[in-house]
Every structure is written in structure tokens, then in C-alpha cells.
């Protein structure tokens, strides 16, 4: 491991002394697995053991509610042989944490987890060899527990991690081949300790980006266009400038009003007179689907099997599914505090991507990225929306210009306006059953959502999957003009739409084949993990096999996502007079391999399903071209307490498989499971999300027709 010595010395200064586990070029396989670019060759630590015996874990991942602060600490504690309480977590600090692409795609546990566990296992060996020398016994006679190394059979012969760390400074490359503890031996992993962020979060002590205070800081409010695509003719800031304490910054593309009080900055901004040229605005929530079909561009082939043309066909099914734009709407709007002075920049940012944000801040300032530090406090929710962090660049530019620390905290209206929405999308499916009631053909095209979740896990001999105008990770497509405003990854990007379409189509065919939806699925699923979760959820839910709409309001949907298998069942009631859907209960079974923290996993499943009820029943952005009409929670309706059903999450044990993704898989089933339950309750097949009362009412037969 060829370490640039200076870098290493500087690094030690940052993290202090003790035993430090660094990674170098040997960690490249993991970088490749994570995608896009290799790790840089400068040195960062996964963890260090201080001379007080405390272990500090460094991760470029961030905590936005998903609980990785606790689950990563559990992994390190497990492999290292220390108590969870001895672990301190440093997350999302670009100066001290290993480079990371960002926190999204349910990848923290399955991608960063193995590297962290390997680092901790490696550190355990370092500690062991130090203890062996100190106690003058061979390493294989030593036991590591609770941060103490003792000789097996001679408990009096012992030395603590703290004592060992006092006089050493060791740098070790992480060896990917480090031996990890088996699930059967876990004492910290596989349990559900209290969250490490619990006490802070219930006392108001937890700091989010907008909570950071620096002496002399100013709060900025930025002049925003009324609609996307508007161009500024002129702005008059005279009245704002006349207010005491106001600093006005005017650049071509950035006009801001700053004040030592955020509300006074807002009051000053209201005095800025701006004249805008508005673009044509014609596209709306009902016309956007045709627009997407016309402008999504070339279809990319995602998967192909057999021959669609020669498939045996007894009955065919042609369906088109639609879903509107959905906002991330985290409770914490994007915020950042930037201190750009003395030739460097430090930015506290609410971001899911601290390292890419560092690079964009550096670029905007004309700085070397080495002089820019992003520190990520707690995030008040992200859901993919904080992968984009323009507010950090704005704060940094303003701080550079005025020479003082500057905070930018988006208003709720700005948060909606500048959201990178989950794109509106369309799916067309043409499928067929053969004479034996088996799926013989599946021709599937997704427009604008991207292909995640588009390739079915069902055993279908002839299929074709195509995608246009989307990306695999939910990022904005390179198709100009496809959307009138920004779109981007939204929890389970693409998969929410693809699972809705696929699992609805499966139900349509099951009903036509005269087979119970669960039996129909089992007939076409060979993956033992998927079969197991489907059987587990059927038993726990109490599925009553039936053919066609039974009237009882039960629904099922399955999804294979982020390495996990998930099967969900729901029971709904539909008010035939109003079209309102009430979700009575949801049961969800998931196989995510080894479960690091069972309660944390359940919270992700429950949270995802509850959040998913939004895009399923109430959430759809209203817009007129680039004019975002929903700007707050009075008209954009998130799930509330009265709509939150009892949810039971079942973790299907599979300790033979490394931990898999958990933050997203469950939510991807929500649209489908509710749509299928609505069909079972009413006999009406809803093809567009969200299933608002108006749409359901319009789809229901009138009472005269029912008679």
C-alpha cells in the first residue's frame, strides 16, 4: 500500500491517534461494485480506535431516518468485539469519511456494509496481534469481547482496547477477504437496540442543516422565478436595500436578500420587484401522458427471451397504465450553511450526496475540491430528493460573495418548486395466456419511469422489455423537453410504476384465467425466495383464495427489488358513494437476507408502505407547464394519521444470504397491492395512480348499471 505520507499524517491529525483502519487500492472491487468511478487514492478511514477505547466509524453515507447510524454501528461492533455503546459514528463528512457516491438505492447495508464489516474484522485482527504481543500468548488463545482482550480460560489475563491503542498508530489496508462472523454467532447484529439517534431526536438536540449557527451568519432568501422556464427582464431591489440590516447580492443568475434574521430576509425579499418573461404553458397532469409517449425517444431493449411472434396465444391482454408526478416532500426542506472564507469552504448541507456536492460547490466557487468540506448533519428525510443539493451551491456562492457565513433554507413553496419530482410515466403491456392458462407472452414498454423493476420475476417463456425516456436509477433522462421541470430518483425509482403495472396485469390475467391471484402467481414463480415470502404473507394475512372480484377487498402484490424479495397483502374498503378508499390493514413479508436490525427493518417496511399510500391514493402534482400549482400541504396531500392502516411486517429468515436492501423494496408494492384490492372490492380495475375518489367514482358503474 503506497501511501502518500503527508496525506496520512494529515489524516491522523484529523481523526486523532489510536488504531486506524485505512483503505487504499485494495478496496477497489467494492468501489466497482458501487458503480461509476473508483475510489480516489488518498487515504480515508473506515474506523479508528481511540486511546480512550472508543471506536469511531467513518462512513460517507448519511442518516436521513433510515437508521443506518445504528445499523452500521451494529456491524462494526459485531465484527470488532466491542459494545454498541462504545461506537461513535461520523457520517457524511467529506474530510474524514471514505468517498461515497451517495445514500440511495437501498445500498448502504448491502454495499458499504461488507466493506465496513471487513474493516472492523481487520481491526479485530490488529487488536488481537497487539494483545498477543502484550500478553505474550498466541493469538488463537485470545477472546475479544466488550472491548477487552482476554486469554481464554484465564480471565485475569486481559488488556483493554484503550490500553492497546494508547501507544500505537497503525494503518492497515482493508482486506476484502477478512473473515466475517457468521449469523449464528451474532451478539450485536440481528438485534434491535435503541436507535443511537433516539435521545437527540426526542429532545430537540439533533442538529439538521438549518440548525447550525455560526457567529455573524446571515440568512439568505433568493429571488425565484414564478414558473420554470421564466426569464428575468429586470429586478428592482431598491426598497429591500432600504431596510436596516439588509444585504442585497445581485449577480446575473442570483439575486438574494440577506439578513441576520431569516424572517426579516423574507420580508425584504417580498419588497423586490421583478419582471419576468413567461414561457408557453400548456402541459398539464392529464395531457402529459400523451406528451411522454410522443417525446420519450428511442426505446432501449432491457430484456428479451424466446420469440414473441411464435408464442402460443389463447387470449391477449393489452393495458396502458399511468402515474402522475409525485413530490418527495421531506418534512425538512433543503438547507445549507456555507462558510467560505480564508481560501476554503465548509458547508453543512442537507444532502444525500456529500461528495458529489463537494465537487459541485468547488466548481461553482472555482476552488480545488480538496479545499471544500461538506459536513452532513441529520437529514429530515430525503427519499431521493436530496440527491440534488443546489442549495449548498447557492449558500456557498453567497458566502463567497459577502464574506460571511450564509444559510439557505428553502421555504416549503421553494421545496415544491425545485423538487426533482418522481416523473409522470406510462407503461404499455401486451401479454397473453396459452390454452393451459399459463402466461405465454409478455411485451412490456415503460416510458419515463426507467427500467428498475420492469423485468418480471415470473417464469414467462417469451418476453420483451423496453424502456424509453428514463434511466435505471431514476435520474433525469437525456431527453430535452420531456418534462416541464426537474425529475429525479424517488424512493424505489421506476419500480413503483413498474410493479404497479406488472402486478396489476398479472391480476388481470389471473381473473381471466379463472385462477386465484396467489395461486396464479405461484404457478409462474420458480424463485424459492419469492415463493417463500408469498406463502408467508398469505398465511399471516389469512388470504382467502377466490377468482375474480370477491367483494372482500383483498389484494396482493410482489416485488423483487434491491436484492430483496417482498410480498404484500392489503385489505381495503371502498365507499361506493364517494369513491374513497380506506386501507384497513397491510401485511408485508420480506426476505432481505441477514437482518442487521429487525426493528429498524420493520420501521423501513412500515414507513415505505405508509409513504406509498400517498402516490397510490392522493399524491399527484398539479401543474400548468412550468407552473407548479401545489406549493404546500394544503393542496398536496400526504398520508395522515387517519389514513395510516395497521401494518404488520414479517421478516422471512434467510441467514444464508448477505444483508440486502430494505429502504425501498416494500414501497414498490404499494400501488399494485391497493389497486388489486380495489378491484377485489369493486370489480373495477384502476389503471392510473393516484386512485383519487373522483377517479374511482368515475370508474364505478352507476347504481343503475349495478342493478
Amino acid at each position: 500500500m503506497a501511501a502518500p505520507r503527508l496525506a496520512r499524517r494529515e489524516f491522523h491529525k484529523l481523526v486523532g491517534g489510536g488504531i486506524v483502519v485505512l483503505f487504499g487500492a485494495s478496496a477497489l472491487p467494492m468501489a466497482q461494485a458501487q458503480g461509476r468511478r473508483p475510489y480516489p487514492s488518498d487515504f480515508h478511514a473506515y474506523l479508528s480506535i481511540g486511546d480512550n477505547g472508543r471506536v469511531t466509524v467513518y462512513s460517507g453515507k448519511i442518516e436521513m431516518g433510515q437508521g443506518v447510524m445504528t445499523s452500521l454501528a451494529q456491524m462494526a461492533a459485531e465484527e470488532l468485539g466491542v459494545d454498541l455503546a462504545s461506537i461513535d459514528m461520523v457520517l457524511g463528512d467529506t474530510d474524514t469519511c471514505p468517498w461515497d457516491m451517495g445514500t440511495f438505492g437501498s445500498m448502504t447495508t448491502r454495499m458499504f456494509g461488507p466493506a465496513l464489516r471487513a474493516a472492523a474484522a481487520r481491526a479485530r485482527e490488529v487488536v488481537k496481534s497487539l494483545a498477543a504481543a502484550r500478553l505474550e500468548v498466541p493469538g488463537d488463545r485470545l477472546r475479544l469481547e466488550h472491548g477487552v482482550v482476554s486469554v481464554i480460560g484465564e480471565p485475569g489475563q486481559r488488556v483493554s482496547f484503550a490500553e492497546l491503542s494508547k501507544s500505537v498508530r497503525i494503518a492497515e489496508a482493508v482486506d476484502q477477504a477478512a473473515v466475517l462472523r457468521a449469523a449464528a454467532d451474532f451478539s450485536v447484529m440481528g438485534r434491535s437496540p435503541s436507535r443511537l439517534d433516539g435521545a437527540e431526536k426526542v429532545t430537540g438536540a439533533a442538529k439538521y442543516a438549518a440548525d447550525i449557527r455560526l457567529p455573524g451568519m446571515l440568512y439568505a432568501r433568493i429571488l425565484r422565478p414564478p414558473v420554470h422556464g421564466a426569464a428575468l427582464n429586470k429586478a428592482d431591489t431598491t426598497a429591500a436595500k432600504a431596510l436596516p440590516g439588509v444585504v442585497v447580492i445581485e449577480r446575473d443568475d442570483l439575486i438574494a436578500v440577506l439578513h441576520a434574521e431569516p424572517d426579516s430576509a423574507a420580508a425584504a425579499l417580498a419588497l423586490v420587484q421583478a419582471d419576468w418573461r413567461l414561457p408557453d404553458m400548456t402541459l398539464g397532469p392529464d395531457t402529459v401522458f400523451e406528451h411522454i409517449l410522443a417525446h420519450a425517444g428511442d426505446q432501449k431493449q432491457i430484456a428479451v427471451k424466446g420469440d414473441l411472434g411464435s408464442a402460443p396465444v389463447a387470449r391477449t391482454f393489452e393495458t396502458t397504465f399511468q402515474k402522475g408526478y409525485v413530490a418527495h416532500a421531506p418534512m425538512e426542506p433543503h438547507a445549507a450553511l456555507a462558510d467560505v472564507r480564508h481560501g476554503g469552504a465548509t458547508v453543512w448541507a442537507s444532502t444525500q450526496t456529500p461528495f458529489p456536492t463537494r465537487d459541485s460547490v468547488a466548481k461553482a466557487l472555482g476552488f480545488d475540491p480538496k479545499t471544500v468540506r461538506i459536513i452532513t448533519p441529520f437529514l429530515g428525510g430525503g427519499f431521493g430528493g436530496k440527491s440534488a443539493s443546489g442549495q449548498a451551491v447557492e449558500a456557498a456562492r453567497l458566502s463567497q460573495i459577502c464574506g460571511k457565513p450564509v444559510q439557505v433554507e428553502r421555504t416549503r413553496s421553494e421545496e415544491f418548486f425545485y423538487d426533482t419530482f418522481d416523473p409522470a410515466s406510462v407503461v404499455t403491456v401486451s401479454s397473453a395466456l396459452d390454452r393451459d392458462g399459463r402466461i405465454s407472452r409478455w411485451d412490456y414498454a415503460v416510458f419515463a419511469a426507467g427500467e428498475r423493476g420492469a423485468n418480471p420475476f415470473y417464469d414467462i417463456p417469451n418476453l420483451r422489455i423496453r424502456s424509453a425516456g428514463g434511466t435505471s436509477y431514476g435520474g433525469a433522462p437525456a431527453v430535452a423537453g420531456l418534462h416541464p421541470f426537474a425529475v429525479g430518483p424517488w424512493r424505489g425509482p421506476g419500480a413503483n410504476m413498474n410493479v404497479f403495472a406488472t402486478e396489476s396485469q398479472i391480476d388481470i390475467m389471473a381473473a381471466a384465467a379463472g385462477v386465484d391471484p396467489v395461486a396464479f402467481r405461484l404457478k409462474h414463480i420458480t424463485d424459492p425466495r419469492m415463493r417463500r415470502v408469498l406463502q408467508a404473507v398469505s398465511a399471516a394475512f389469512g388470504w382467502r383464495p377466490s377468482v375474480g372480484a370477491s367483494g372482500s377487498g383483498q389484494g396482493v402484490a410482489c416485488s423483487s427489488d434491491a436484492g430483496s424479495c417482498v410480498a404484500t397483502m392489503a385489505e381495503v374498503k371502498v365507499d361506493l358513494a364517494t369513491g374513497k378508499v380506506t386501507v384497513l390493514r397491510i401485511v408485508c413479508a420480506q426476505d432481505m437476507g441477514v437482518v442487521v436490525n429487525p426493528n429498524g427493518a420493520r420501521m423501513q417496511i412500515e414507513g415505505g408502505l405508509t409513504m406509498g399510500l400517498g402516490y397510490t391514493l392522493t399524491e399527484e402534482l398539479r401543474f400548468n407547464g412550468g407552473d407548479i400549482l401545489d406549493r404546500n400541504f394544503d393542496t398536496y396531500h400526504l398520508p395522515r394519521f387517519s389514513g395510516a392502516p395497521r401494518i404488520e411486517a414479517i421478516l422471512v429468515k434467510n441467514d444464508d444470504l448477505e444483508p440486502q436492501g430494505c429502504g425501498e423494496p416494500a414501497i414498490t408494492t404499494t400501488g399494485a397491492v391497493i389497486a388489486n384490492a380495489v378491484f377485489d372490492a369493486t370489480g373495477v380495475r384502476m389503471l392510473r395512480l393516484p386512485m383519487t375518489p373522483e377517479r374511482i367514482l368515475a370508474a364505478l358503474p352507476t347504481s343503475a348499471q349495478r342493478k
Binding site: 431516518g65 433510515q66 437508521g67 435503541s194 436507535r195 439517534d197 433516539g198 435521545a199 437527540e200 431526536k201 426526542v202 429532545t203 430537540g204 438536540a205 439533533a206 442538529k207 439538521y208 438549518a210 440548525d211 449557527r213 440568512y219 441576520a260 434574521e261 431569516p262 424572517d263 426579516s264 416532500a329 421531506p330 418534512m331 425538512e332 426542506p333 441529520f378 437529514l379 429530515g380 428525510g381 427519499f383 433554507e409 421555504t411 416549503r412 426493528n599 429498524g600 420501521m603 412500515e606 414507513g607 415505505g608 408502505l609 405508509t610 409513504m611 404546500n632 400541504f633 394544503d634 400526504l638 398520508p639 395522515r640 394519521f641 387517519s642 395510516a644 392502516p645 395497521r646 401494518i647
Partner: protein, 158 residues
């Protein structure tokens, strides 16, 4: 209008000279550096900024400073007493009644005020009482569970 406003904050006296038309949320977060009270929507819709004033929950983003003159104001920073968590805070931890934690301050203070007015509400009353607090992470059933547990605890102080 700039004036001196006096009130009790988390049990201690506060005297503040400021424009008394400013919203309490910003005064708390900026002038008093109590950042546990959160900005969420600015229009009193989401509940992230809830505080308790004379025993009743209010949205601090819509409450002018002058309206709390002489009042007893409780923020999330004042809920734990002498280093001991309030039973609601402990129940939120025990039930995992938060994820990102951003709505938690408001949830706790609205729940606190709810139990002050009705120490043993039915589950339906808890749901109705919390209906105007938004949580995006989907911790709803755990929040209701936590409040329900405290409400049924005998001898729970509120």
C-alpha cells in the same frame, strides 16, 4: 413594532427586545438559538413547529411574538426535566416512533397538549388529535402506539 416582550420559556424568564410582529418560530430559532422547534410549511399546516403555550398547542410559525407576552411557553427543549426524559419522549424511543426525527418535536408537543386536555383518550381520539401533524417517514402507527401507552400508564406525569 419593536418592543420588549417578557414571557416564561421552559420554566425560566425571558425578556426580549424585538419586532413583536415576528413569528415566534423564528425568534426561538434565531434570537434564542432554540433550534429544536422546526420549520416545515410556514402556514400552520404540518405541525413541525408546534409549541405549548399555557397548556395548549400552537403553531409557532403563525404566532406573533406579542401574543406570548406574559405566557408560559414550552418548547421541546423544556420537555425533559432534570435530565429525565418525559414519559412521552421515552415512549417515542421505545416504540421507534420516529425515523428522520424532523417532525418529532412537534409530534411530542402536540401529544403532550393532547394528554393535558384528555389524559386517557381513545385510540380514535389520538388519531384525530394528531391528524394535523405530518410525518413523511411513515411512523404513524408507532406514534399512536407511543401516545396510547403513555396515556394508559398509571401515574404518568404530564
Amino acid at each position: 413594532m419593536k418592543s420588549t416582550v417578557q414571557f416564561s420559556l421552559n420554566g425560566g424568564p425571558v425578556s426580549l427586545t424585538a419586532d413583536d410582529g415576528r413569528m415566534l418560530l423564528w425568534v426561538l430559532r434565531t434570537d434564542l438559538a432554540l433550534t429544536g422547534t422546526k420549520y416545515g410549511c410556514g402556514e400552520g399546516i404540518c405541525g413541525a413547529c408546534a409549541v405549548v403555550i399555557n397548556g395548549q398547542a400552537h403553531r409557532s410559525c403563525r404566532l406573533p411574538l406579542k401574543d406570548v407576552a406574559g405566557a408560559e411557553v414550552l418548547t421541546i427543549e423544556g420537555l425533559a426535566k432534570d435530565g429525565r426524559l418525559h414519559p412521552l419522549q421515552q415512549a417515542f424511543i421505545d416504540h421507534g416512533a420516529f425515523q428522520c426525527g424532523y417532525c418529532t418535536s412537534g409530534m411530542l408537543l402536540d401529544a403532550y397538549a393532547l394528554l393535558l386536555s384528555d389524559p386517557r383518550p381513545s385510540r380514535a381520539k389520538i388519531v384525530a388529535g394528531m391528524e394535523h401533524n405530518l410525518c413523511r417517514c411513515g411512523a404513524h402507527q408507532r406514534i399512536v402506539d407511543a401516545i396510547e401507552q403513555v396515556s394508559t400508564q398509571t401515574g404518568a406525569e404530564t
